[in-house]
């Protein structure tokens, strides 16, 4: 059953349809929020807030865009509100401390160092460029969808993606 059918069911009064939407999007949405704020518990709370807002707003959702785009737009606004109130980004990252046990320690450390450098470089990007890159790479959104979430045009989103990639390459140099 696709999102549109689930939304129709929800509007007809089948509240379980919303739970199915939660099941489908809770993990990717929480991970996207985590990438923005780097705090796993806060990501959980924000992600739940997003679903509660979606639950309230769903009867008025016109389906002009996809449910996913609409949900991520809500998420982005919620994260913005959160970041406005929050202190600068936490240096400790609960998920960063998790090491994959299957990976050799040295490789893991090297990989972690590179990831750390890349994340630091990402933090220096203008927010729109950073978010465009994240939505494109991790959420597999096309530029039309990114434009709907972040505002602007698909062409503008494409330019933002290019600028983000160019800036990261210049900041990081060769990462091999």
């Amino acid at each position: 059953m696709d999102d549109a059918d689930l939304i129709k069911d929800f509007r007809k009064g089948r509240t379980e349809a919303f739970s199915e939407l939660v099941q489908k999007y809770s993990k990717p949405l929480t991970m996207t929020i985590f990438r923005m704020i780097r705090d796993v518990e806060e990501s959980k709370d924000i992600s739940q807030t997003v679903f509660l807002k979606a639950y309230e707003g769903l009867p008025g959702f016109t389906m002009a865009s996809s449910f996913k785009t609409w949900l991520y737009k809500i998420a982005l606004n919620t994260v913005r509100d959160y970041l406005r109130k929050r202190k600068p980004i936490h240096s400790t990252d609960a998920l960063e401390t998790l090491v994959d046990p299957a990976e050799p320690t040295w490789d893991s450390l090297d990989k972690k160092r590179n990831l750390s450098r890349m994340r630091e470089a990402m933090e220096t990007l203008p927010p729109k460029q950073r978010l465009t890159l994240q939505l494109r790479v991790y959420e597999d959104m096309d530029y039309e969808e990114i434009a709907r979430v972040l505002g602007g045009t698909a062409g503008g989103a494409r330019v933002n993606f290019f600028q983000a990639a160019k800036a990261l390459r210049e900041k990081l140099g060769a990462m091999q």
């Binding site: 929480t30 991970m31 796993v40 739940q48 290019f162 990261l168 390459r169």
Partner: protein
């Protein structure tokens, strides 16, 4: 064959890594890269960067985390549903109450109007005639005729009952002329 400029290549190689290129553009790009080692190096850097970005997948926080996530969200949704149901029922009750108040007011305001129209002074038609008289004065038929116009007087001053009629005839007999009782 058209050649690419180094300034344009960067954008084209990012597009290639991101969305892919059509065959002609891809051929042009590859031809340029074979002939231009600096651009080839930049492409390798972009490839490394894209791989690193794609590999930055946070480890799953674990089953327990997601169970807590589901249970707290389900509980919050349940509260919201309950609150919404309560809010709806309150609105419905308020609607019914409002309708009852409107009906009550409507019924009693009509009742009051009837009471007003039966106010002292007679029925509605009398009140209307009084109002017309106030506005335009009495009609010619209602003007009291001169005493000499006895016929008219007799027609207009209709006695109030049989006794009054008798009095009127008695008065005529005694005086030999019409007289106003």
């Amino acid at each position: 064959m058209k050649k690419l400029d180094c300034n344009d290549v960067e954008r084209i190689m990012v597009t290639d890594l991101d969305e892919g290129l059509d065959l002609d553009s891809k051929e042009l790009l590859e031809a340029h890269l074979q002939a231009c080692p600096p651009c080839m190096r930049i492409r390798e850097e972009f490839q490394s960067l894209f791989s690193a970005v794609a590999a930055d997948v946070p480890p799953d926080p674990g089953e327990l985390f997601w169970r807590r996530y589901d249970s707290t969200l389900a509980s919050a949704l349940h509260k919201k549903r309950h609150a919404a149901r309560w809010r709806d029922s309150r609105w419905k009750a308020a609607g019914v109450l409002l309708a009852a108040v409107i009906a009550f007011v409507a019924v009693f305001s009509v009742y009051d109007v009837r009471k007003v129209t039966r106010a002292p002074g007679g029925d509605t038609s009398e009140l209307v005639f009084q109002e017309l008289n106030n506005l335009y004065g009495p009609s010619p038929e209602e003007v009291v005729p001169a005493l000499s116009d006895s016929t008219m007087l007799a027609e207009i001053r209709i006695p109030q009952g049989d006794d009054a009629m008798m009095d009127w005839f008695d008065a005529e007999d005694e005086s030999g002329q019409f007289w106003l009782l």
